[in-house]
């Protein structure tokens, strides 16, 4: 499980790779919360191109970050989902609250406007 960050204006791209399960959500959660404690970050997007697996523990972790970001009026998005990850998110109803972008470009355009 690897995590890396990149900042674009006031929104943060969080790149995850490997398998996100209960075993590593704690570590990932801490890394993200540490980063988003910086107040100038308003929106976050998870780039999951290299995430090969997740389950409801991953959903819980993403929802937890969504709630924090929502409090400051920000938006949470995801981009580049592999089929397994997409199915887990769909069945969990995650797309009711998390924005699904087809590409990083789509996310950039979106955040340029909001």
């Amino acid at each position: 499980m690897n995590i890396s960050f990149s900042l674009q204006k006031n929104w943060l791209i969080i790149k995850l790779s490997g398998e996100l399960d209960h075993h590593n959500t704690n570590y990932i959660r801490k890394k993200i919360d540490n980063k988003i404690s910086q107040e100038y970050i308003k929106h976050i997007v998870f780039n999951l191109k290299n995430l090969t697996f997740t389950d409801s523990s991953g959903v819980g972790m993403i929802l937890g970050r969504y709630k924090k970001i929502k409090k400051r009026g920000g938006i949470t998005g995801v981009v580049n989902l592999n089929p397994q990850v997409k199915r887990v998110f769909e069945i969990s109803g995650l797309f009711k609250v998390i924005k699904y972008f087809n590409s990083i470009k789509e996310a950039i355009d979106y955040f340029e406007e909001v």
Partner: protein, 147 residues
């Protein structure tokens, strides 16, 4: 219903074994040569059941988790995940989407819902103070189509 192969695995309820359990069951089920998607479904369901045993059944203690799997005929896998932990008081409520007894751990309450959706059937048996057994069955339709 012919049992063509079977296996039994047990390990302590440590979270590092979640990935291990997924690999083992996937390696076993792949003897039937399912599609990538079907195998991913099985891995996901096993991950949910094993994680529940670790988080909910044993909470912060270590106890045994057992997995039994059987290959039935030439296209069906049956998986049983068993713990000897605290048990579930109200199974019906536990199986409801979004219900979780541990919101403080950011559980989504979607574990059972995912098991149900990713497998063909899900049976849950539990005795308070004794433990929980989850039985899941999936028939790989891609195999039938191939024949």
């Amino acid at each position: 219903m012919r049992v063509n192969n079977s296996m039994k695995l047990s390990f302590p309820s440590k979270s590092q074994n979640e990935a291990f359990a997924r690999i083992v069951v996937a390696a076993f089920a792949s003897q039937l040569d399912p599609s990538i998607e079907e195998l991913a479904d099985v891995k996901t369901a096993v991950s949910e059941a094993v994680t529940n045993a670790i988080i909910h059944a044993y909470e912060n203690t270590i106890g045994p988790v057992e997995i039994e799997a059987r290959l039935l005929n030439h296209e069906t896998v049956e998986i049983i995940v068993k713990d000897f932990g605290k048990g579930i008081e109200d199974i019906e409520k536990a199986r409801e989407p979004l219900y979780t007894s541990k919101p403080e751990l950011e559980r989504s309450g979607m574990g059972f819902t995912i098991m149900e959706n990713f497998m063909d059937s899900l049976e849950v048996e539990s005795t308070l103070g004794r433990g929980t057994t989850v039985k899941m069955v999936k028939t790989f339709k891609s195999i039938k189509n191939r024949e």
